[in-house]
Symmetry: C2
Subunit: 250 residues, 2 copies
């Protein structure tokens, strides 16, 4: 029986999502809880993708198989009672055996939160405390550079990446409420550090330190040389993961 779960977590106290020996990770905690439920049999989980250290999630998705069938509501209850308080399973459903949490992804939505106003200690791990006013309409205009299919090599991890770095961004939207700014990215998938590096570049536009043309040029360069500083992890949330219509897909 294959189960699909929706998970929210506070990334602050984790060394990222992916299992690492002797470090507290989201996957590690989830696998402990799932394995316990699965008659104490070590059980792997497969997520839609990793999130980095300090990054949060409202809607991470993961799947796993149980050797004995358990009703989804009981799986949810069982997992939540065995998970630490910074992880929460918000839904559980049964999926076909050939469903894969990573390969069946249709689109992902990431959210980045910025406080342009006074420092708020309560939100220091949940909203980037920029403390500077941004010209949001110039950021909005510059963000159009990233829409569509691009090789995002200039906006990824600084290390050498061998994989295909072409991705499609469907939408980037901005929402302000007072000093609070949210930027939402929807795409078919995102590379490591891609959202944070794009947000870092857009912030420079919002501070009039870079122009839309600078970002265009940087994107076209397809290289991490002269890369701009990324925005910190604490402001980033994996908001949701959408799958292709299961009926049509199978």
């Amino acid at each position: 029986m294959r189960y699909l779960i929706r998970v929210s977590y506070d990334g602050t106290l984790f060394y990222g999502f992916q299992v690492q020996p002797n470090l507290r990770t989201v996957q590690g905690e989830l696998e402990k809880a799932v394995s316990y439920l699965n008659r104490q049999t070590p059980t792997k989980i497969y997520a839609s993708g990793r999130t980095d250290r300090g990054v949060h999630a409202m809607g991470q998705m993961a799947h796993f198989d149980l050797s004995i069938p358990i009703p989804p509501e009981k799986v949810q209850k069982g997992l939540n009672s065995n998970l630490p308080e910074d992880i929460y399973v918000s839904s559980v459903s049964l999926v076909p055996d050939d469903f894969h949490c990573r390969y069946s992804v249709h689109k992902k939505t990431y959210l980045y939160k910025i406080n342009m106003g006074e420092y708020n200690p309560m939100e220091r791990n949940y909203v980037y405390q920029l403390g500077k006013k941004l010209n949001v309409s110039s950021m909005e205009d510059a963000s159009k550079v990233f829409l569509g299919v691009h090789d995002f090599r200039s906006f990824i991890d600084s290390e050498e990446v061998r994989e295909n770095t072409v991705r499609e961004i469907f939408d980037i939207s901005f929402q302000t409420q007072g000093d609070f700014l949210e930027i939402r990215f929807v795409g078919n998938g995102f590379l490591k550090y891609q959202v944070r590096n794009i947000v870092g570049a857009l912030i420079l536009v919002g501070l009039s330190k870079k122009t839309k043309e600078d970002l265009e040029e940087l994107l076209a360069r397809k290289s991490r040389k002269k890369a701009l500083k990324g925005a910190p992890a604490c402001g980033l949330y994996l908001e949701s993961v959408d799958y292709f219509d299961k009926e049509k897909e199978h």
Copy 2:
């Protein structure tokens, strides 16, 4: 020179406000920073009152004296650069030598935040994750019991309290946004655990487990016997402290 500061802090990682030997407290961290600024001379600070372990503040007030005059803007900068990231000084002003942060208080505002909806791991230390729908209008009606001058002995710390337990509550107001409920208390001062115990009682009314009359009776009893369970610290914020008009007062 006497300085009045406005301080916000995240109470999660402190053993409350008041200095305690070998424990991390808000007052302890503030006194370290103030003493450093005051030519490394041990300097005491006086706050409007304590907050308990896990309780937050947006607008705690405190005063201290410096032996050498420093412009308020420089005091703010100096303190913030020496304070940990979970404390922030949001304003500094000069006050007369006979101003006292505790004895000159006119009114205090406390805010209590409740999530009636799905568990949110990101807010577990900042909003009480009740996870149950409340009948807010019945809570609003029952809250009227507490308005005005009362002996709040039934709603304080369970230990024996010798001090005067009469206080005046000027206003209790409710604000909902979706599953999110905020209850704001304005009064001339609050006793230890008073707000949390009143919120705990109001929640029972919101769950139809107690009535307005039950709370009336409990208040009249003036005893902690048969006291109701208080709401957890994490939802509570000292929002602001107002002082009597300084001109009129002196």
